[in-house]
Structures are given as C-alpha cells and as structure tokens.
Amino acid sequence: MYTDKVMDHFSNPRNVGEIEKASGVGEVGNAKCGDIMRIYLDVEDNIIKDIKFKTFGCGAAIATSSMVTEMVKGKTIDEALEVTNKAVAKALGGLPPAKMHCSNLAADALHKAIEDYKKKLKSDSYN
C-alpha cells in the first residue's frame, strides 16, 4: 500500500512537536474527517530556521507532514511557497490513489503557516 519512504517518515517522523513562539502557525483539515495537520514555523531573515508539526490522521497524513518539514527546513519563504502537495507525494515515492486527496494536505498547512507569518509580520510593522 505505502512506499518504503512513506513508512519511514510515518514510523520515524521528522520534526514532530510545537514551536513555542512560532513566527507562524497553519492548520488544515478537521477532526470529523479524520485529518488535522498543524505546522509551526520559526522564520528568521526570510529563512525557515525551524519547522515542527503535529498531525492527527492516517499514515499518509503523518508521512506527508514529516516530509514537508524536511523539504523546506532551511529554505526561504519563497522557495517554501513553491512546494505543492503533489511534490510532497512525489518526494515520498507516491501515495495510494485514495490518499492523494484526503490526506495529502501538508503543503497546504505549510502555506497557511507562511500566510500566518506574513500577516503577523505586517501587523508587527504597523505597530
């Protein structure tokens, strides 16, 4: 069902956790549907210095969350914005068709976190 890469990220997920004073936080999904992904960013000089996630969901949800954090850690915000759900799935060697829609939302969560960061930044600068 799942590729070895998925199983690796599922069983040894990278960057699990929270960031206390995060520069941005993004969440997608809802518990009713069985998937929630939350991503925490620590951004400095437009670079993702640290990234953590917390995910409630199936194997694919956890693996994509883990994968996306690895893909963008150390990257610039702009680079991170270019990462798509599809790219995450590809980096994992593919996902079962049934999982492509419902559980492949990690990039969305990341983008939401970046949005949140940008919003905060704006309000900061106006303060």
């Binding site: 518990a31 069985g34 929630i36 939350r38 917390k54 409630f56 969901g57």
Partner: protein, 402 residues
C-alpha cells in the same frame, strides 16, 4: 518478530484438519458432484455430509441448507430472493442501521426497485429497541432482516425475541449470522429464524464458501441462473472442497463451542480491562457483557485508526479499525455513528478480535505494546493536551446520525 493475529472477525486461517480434508478434495476426490461416475459420487457424498454437519449446528434439516460463495451472496440471496418471490404480499422491509453492507446495500438497491425499508436505530450499545421494531411493522411488511452479532462492536442482538414477533406477525425473519455461526448457539426453530446466512472463512474454513439456511416451504427467487445445482436455488458447479471444509469446520466449531466461549470470554475481558486501565481516555465500544466472546472494540481518543493499525502492524499485531481511512469512505464506521459515537472518537476506534489461535501471551503482548503506541501517536496529535478541552466539547455536540 512476534506475530499476533487479532482480526478474527475479518477472517480466520483455515484450521489444519480442514486444510487437510480440503486438499484431499483438490487432488483425489476431485470429481464434479453432478457426475454419474465414482469421482462424482464420492464428491456428492462429501457435499451431502457437509450439508448435514451444517444443518445440525443450527438444528435445521439438511435440505434446508443451500451453499453459496460466502456471506455476502447468502445475504443477497436471502433478502432479494424472498422479497422478489413474495412481492405480491407486500413491499416493506425492516432492518437496522448497523447491518453489514451486504444487507444495507442490498436494501438500498431494493429501495430503487420500489420496496420500502425501515432502518431501525440502535442505542449506545448497538442494540435495537423491541418496541421500535414492533412499531415499525406494517400491514405490508414482508421481511425483517437483523444480524445476530454485529461485526464491528460484537453486540449480540435479541434474535429470539425478534423471531417471536416475526412469527406472530407472519413476517419472514432473515438473520445475518456471519459473525455468530459456530461461535455461539443458534437454534433456528427455537429462535423462529426463516433464513440465515453464514460464511466459512469466519470459522476456519476456506474463503469462497458460505451457506443460506432457508426454512422449508419458503419461496425464493434465485440471484442467478444455470445448472440445477442446489435444487436450482444456486446454480454452478458445486465448490466441493469448500463445502466439505465448511462442513467439517462447522462440526468442529459445534464440538468446541462451549469450551471456546469460556476461554475467549476470559481473554476478551482481560484485554478490555487491561486497555481501559493502562490507557487514559480510552473507552469500550459496545456492551461489556452482551458481546461476542473474543470481540473487543475500544476507542483511543485523539488518534486516528489507520496510523494506529500501522504501528501495531510494525509490532506484528494485526487488528482493524472503524476509521474512515480504513473503511474506504470519508466517514467512519456507520455502526459507530449509529451508536451515537462522534466522528473523532470513531476515527480512533480499534477492533481486536480473538480466535482459536489466540493465547494469554498474545493479550499480554498487546497490553505491553499498545499503550506505547498510543502515547507516541498522541504526542504527535494536535488534538491531545492543547485542544483537549475544546475537542471534548466539539465531540459532545457531534450530531448523531440517529
């Protein structure tokens, strides 16, 4: 690595006595049971012997047993077969919200064919209310189809009471006994059952064989057409090896039933108690005592079933879940929903079903491994701790499907 199979409600291994018998019918007694020659007659003997073995387990007559390819086909044959053959008598069917899809989807199909179906709701323990059943009966009700044991939560339904009512009202009663056949006692006469479905692979016989008990005298339209096998009720070359295997497994199940019920009930309760004790925020789904021996279903909040299964699997433990991810749909198990369990809790359900090969060591191993896994998954879950309170509220306002 230790391997622990705790998914006996999904399927079972073929027991060795049965495997050996079946293999003999593969290579030696391989004739077509309809053939005149010795190969055919030997095969026929095996088939009729199996029919007796199965009939005797449920106190039916051999000629009331019709072999099918499994439980799904038997359910369809029973329901479609009786309502089509008795269409002139009425068009109303009563069933429950917690039936297997083999019954539910068949009823949905029949709704499209002009029949009307009442899906009885269930309580928190997946049990129906007899008063509601009585109230649902109409002048034109021709069939009641209610399962004996629910496959997801193990609840045993009050078939004897239901049978009494069906008999009084002169309505056919079909019982999906796929999960109870060979595991707890069934007496089709005492329980007033008119049709009953069973499946071999749930009781250590091969997959691809099942049967329908059809009380003598009840008209039934066949699902499909062809040769005159099974007295035209179910055409096609008889699956002789499957049939003899099913027969033997039924006989052995009958012999071992009393002892197995006690043994499996003990293991089950140890497992339930262990989980509820060791894992905080866990709950039992279904009833504590009115449940199939060997059947455990718990919800472990804040985590999702599929990832739980995968982690258990990495530790060699085979189990199942009512989470959406494993049901292949967006919604979690319709059974848990019907019981009023909210989505989040249903997503975190875990079914552990014991059987012949289960041992006390298996239970101990699960009780050792499961808490660690739950903790690991909860530590990743955004629902745990931080949102605990919120979520609880969200959950309690979950709209029930009832």
């Amino acid at each position: 690595m230790r391997r622990v199979y705790m998914d006996h409600s999904a399927t079972t291994p073929v027991r060795s006595e049965v495997a050996q018998l079946v293999t003999g019918y593969f290579t030696e007694t391989f004739g077509n049971a309809s053939s005149v020659h010795a190969y055919g007659r030997e095969a026929r003997k095996g088939v009729e012997n199996a029919r007796e073995q199965i009939a005797s387990l449920i106190k039916a007559k051999p000629e009331e047993i019709f072999f099918t390819s499994g439980g799904t086909e038997a359910d369809n044959m029973a329901i479609i077969g009786t309502v089509m053959a008795n269409r002139d008598k009425g068009k109303h069917i009563i069933t429950t919200q917690i039936e297997h899809h083999a019954v539910l989807d068949t009823c949905k199909y029949l709704e499209g064919q002009g029949f009307e179906v009442t899906y009885l709701p269930v309580d928190d323990y997946a049990n129906i209310d007899i008063g509601q059943l009585k109230a649902a009966i109409r002048e034109d009700t021709i069939l009641i189809s209610i399962m004996h044991v629910n496959n997801e939560v193990g609840t045993i339904l009050p078939i004897k009471e239901i049978g009494q009512i069906a008999k009084e009202k002169n309505i056919f009663l079909h019982v999906d006994a796929v999960q109870s056949f060979g595991k707890i006692p069934i007496d089709v006469n005492e329980m007033n059952i008119d049709l009953l479905s069973a499946s071999g692979h749930k009781i250590y016989a091969p997959k691809g064989i099942g049967c329908l008990y059809l009380r003598k005298g009840i008209k039934l339209s066949p699902l499909f057409f062809g040769g005159s096998q099974e007295r035209k009720r179910r055409p096609g070359t008889e699956n002789v090896p499957g049939i003899v295997g099913f027969g033997l497994s039924a006989e052995l199940a009958g012999k071992e039933m009393e002892v197995e019920i006690i043994r499996l009930t003990g293991l089950r309760d140890k497992l339930i108690n262990g989980i509820l004790e060791k894992i905080p925020e866990s709950q039992l789904n279904g009833n504590r005592t009115n449940r199939l021996p060997g059947h455990v279903n718990v919800s472990l909040r804040y985590i999702e079933g599929e990832s739980l299964l995968l982690m258990l699997d990495m530790k060699g433990i085979a189990a199942s879940s009512g989470s959406a991810c494993t049901s292949g749909s967006l919604d979690p198990s319709h059974v848990l929903m019907a019981m009023g369990i909210c989505h989040e809790v249903a997503h975190g359900s875990l079914r552990l079903t014991l059987g012949k090969i289960s041992t006390e060591e298996d239970i101990n191993y699960v009780l050792e491994v499961l808490p660690e896994i739950v903790e690991k998954l909860r530590s990743m879950s955004p629902l745990f701790n931080s949102m605990e309170i919120d979520n609880r509220e969200e959950c309690s306002t979950c709209t029930l499907t009832k």
